[in-house]
């Protein structure tokens, strides 16, 4: 009897409380994810779905028609990510540092103004920039002309060598508010007394930023980097809105998202192939998983969390 009393009772309330979240998450995330992974092992032969093992992946990486497109998209995606890391995040940090300066006037106005593009739809941003940069109706050539820099103008979205960089910078323009806000919050959480202690020791201005503030916001910068990585490798909307699913000119702006879209749903003359599409989606999932794991186990675990 005593033993029975002492044995822990199954705690049903835990199951009950977890159930709603687990059910919803399973229905919209876990089930589709695993179903996509499953689908990538099938192919349609004579209008029949048959199991083909790793054949789709073999085709994706072995068949030049597929693999050239895949490596092109992956390479473009890396460039897209690199521009965000080298332009968006440093600018975000710099803006946050400037905004957190107590003597800046209208800080709240600048903060909102810089953040507003983030809440705009990709369609609006893509279309608006397409119009701005258009050589025919765009205001960009006219504005450059007005300051005598007309020679600098090129149809940036229409040239293979510029189009991807241009779109990356448009995306940077749209999302620079997010690292800015996160870093701004991190900077505000640094206690005033630490900065005053530094001031008494002569560490002010830029050296206070490099020696005190930057080390203390490193954990936030890490979070921003991984958020940028995931968002960039899942990106699709801006390219689609600005350049269409063919990611022109000549696939020079094609990233994994647009490549997946064309393959899965089909576009113009290309027929949709959900099985090859799933194979690409699975490859994307693994790339992102790998990146996140590298970050979590390689970088995050070595980073110190500071309590003030």
């Amino acid at each position: 009897m005593r033993k029975h009393e002492n044995s822990p009772r199954f705690r049903w309330h835990i199951v009950v409380f977890l159930a709603p979240a687990v059910l919803v998450y399973t229905a919209v995330m876990i089930y589709p994810l695993f179903n996509t992974l499953r689908l990538s092992f099938f192919a349609e032969v004579d209008q029949q779905r048959v199991f083909v093992g790793l054949q789709n992946f073999h085709r994706l990486f072995g068949d030049a028609i597929w693999s050239n497109q895949f490596w092109n998209a992956l390479g473009n995606n890396l460039w897209f990510f690199l521009i965000h890391m080298l332009v968006q995040n440093p600018i975000g940090i710099a803006l946050a540092a400037i905004l957190s300066h107590s003597r800046l006037r209208f800080a709240a106005f600048y903060r909102s103004a810089i953040f507003i593009p983030t809440i705009l739809s990709f369609v609006i941003v893509g279309f608006a920039w397409k119009l701005i940069l258009s050589p025919i109706w765009g205001i960009a050539p006219g504005m450059l002309d007005a300051v005598g820099l007309n020679s600098l103008y090129a149809p940036w979205l229409g040239k293979e060598e510029y189009a991807l960089t241009t779109l990356s910078l448009v995306s940077v323009w749209q999302f620079v508010g997010i690292p800015m806000m996160l870093i701004y919050a991190a900077l505000l959480s640094i206690p005033e007394e630490i900065l005053e202690a530094a001031e008494v020791e002569g560490i002010t201005g830029l050296s206070a930023f490099w020696k005190i503030k930057l080390p203390l916001i490193l954990p936030s910068i890490g979070i921003i980097s991984i958020l940028t990585f995931v968002a960039n490798f899942n990106a699709f909307d801006l390219i689609y809105a600005a350049q269409g699913a063919l990611a022109g000119p000549d696939f020079s702006t094609d990233i994994l998202g647009t490549f997946l879209y064309r393959t899965f749903f089909g576009f113009q003359l290309q027929l949709g192939d959900p099985h090859m599409g799933s194979a690409i989606a699975s490859a994307m999932f693994l790339i992102i998983l790998l990146g996140v794991c590298l970050y979590l186990f390689g970088i995050q675990s070595r980073m110190r969390r500071y309590q003030f």
Binding site: P191, E193, I194, E196, A197, A198, E199, V200, E201, G202, I203, T204, S207, K211, I212, P215, L216, L218, R304, Y306, Q307, F308
Partner: protein, 332 residues
């Protein structure tokens, strides 16, 4: 030489005046404590000396130089903050060395000074740890070490013990006193704790509402308070103030008698009922309600068997009583 001279310091935040007409001097090697209730402006005064706030008017002179427009780092001061304010991302050693590095001191000098401070403060076994791995007392010592390595003309302490528990507070207090003796540097120490003020200071500055109430050595202030506020602020338990005492006072004035100057007698000028007894072992405090319905505290040395509810008679020596007028000024 004079370490610090403040002349007619005024400081206002907008319309609120937090310091008005503060003038005082700190001699070379002196330990000066600013004491007062919270909001009296003592921390603001320290920040004005440090240069973290600018005085609205008046001059600050450190080591004979007017430093009103000198940035904090060039004033020859070092400050220890209430929250320690250590750099969380640096080790103990780097915390102490960062300021010197900023001054572009040669590496050998930095190492030498940091090593000396680590030795002096008994931090050798923690020197390569981060602040988050240290206890409150150890962090406090690192903060003091960071001040020492700067070899300042003037040390500023902003309530450095208020985040420590009672036992540690006493130890650290003694360490700070020992440090002052060893360095024989000029120090300014801000606190709201009268015990810290009495035990550490060569000179106490009592502040209230942004004004200096009285300046003097601890015993001067205890034996000879200028007004009712100073009399009531220093000494524990606090001085008793009687409006209906046995000695004549001016209209609306009060009679002040310290609890330790009252004694139990069979016949006395004060009688009352004991409402509470605190037995501390070495002392016994009686809370007494007098016949005139005024609450007073009596401090008896040693142990006493008086019970709650007992009616007792008290007396005191006339020269131990202070008389204050309606405004609280001492009448002599």
């Amino acid at each position: 030489m004079t370490a610090l001279t403040l002349s007619n310091i005024h400081k206002s935040f907008g319309k609120v005046e937090v310091l008005s007409d503060v003038s005082l001097t700190v001699e070379e090697g002196e330990f000066v404590v600013f004491v007062g209730p919270s909001g009296c402006g003592k921390s603001t005064l320290l920040r004005v000396i440090a240069g973290l706030e600018d005085a609205t008017s008046g001059t600050v002179e450190i080591g004979g130089e007017i430093v009103n427009s000198t940035p904090p780092a060039k004033r020859g001061i070092a400050m220890v903050f209430q929250s320690y304010a250590l750099y969380p991302h640096l080790t103990v050693r780097d915390n102490m060395g960062l300021g010197l590095k900023q001054e572009k001191q040669p590496k050998s000098v930095i190492k030498e000074r940091v090593d000396a401070a680590v030795q002096m403060l008994d931090l050798a076994s923690y020197a390569d740890r981060h602040p988050s791995d240290l206890s409150g007392g150890q962090r406090q010592r690192v903060a003091i070490g960071r001040a020492i390595v700067r070899q300042p003309k003037l040390f500023l302490f902003d309530e450095p013990l208020s985040n420590l528990d009672a036992a540690l507070r006493m130890n650290t207090r003694i360490e700070i006193a020992a440090l002052h003796r060893k360095l024989s540097a000029s120090m300014i120490y801000v606190t709201h704790d009268q015990t810290e003020a009495m035990t550490l200071a060569d000179k106490i500055v009592v502040l209230r509402d942004g004004r200096v109430e009285q300046v003097g050595s601890p015993m001067e202030l205890y034996n000879n308070p200028a007004n009712r506020f100073v009399a009531g602020f220093l000494g524990a338990p606090a001085m008793n103030f009687l409006a209906h005492g046995p000695l004549p006072v001016a209209d609306g004035g009060t009679l002040g008698i310290r609890p330790e100057h009252l004694r139990l007698t069979p016949e006395g000028r004060l009688t009352g009922t004991v409402t509470h007894v605190e037995r501390l072992g070495g002392d016994t405090n009686l809370l007494v309600r007098t016949e005139a319905n005024e609450a007073i505290t009596v401090r008896l040395f040693g142990q006493d068997s008086t019970e709650v509810g007992a009616t007792i008679a008290l007396d005191f020596d006339d020269h131990a009583a202070f008389r204050f007028d309606l405004q609280g000024q001492r009448l002599r």
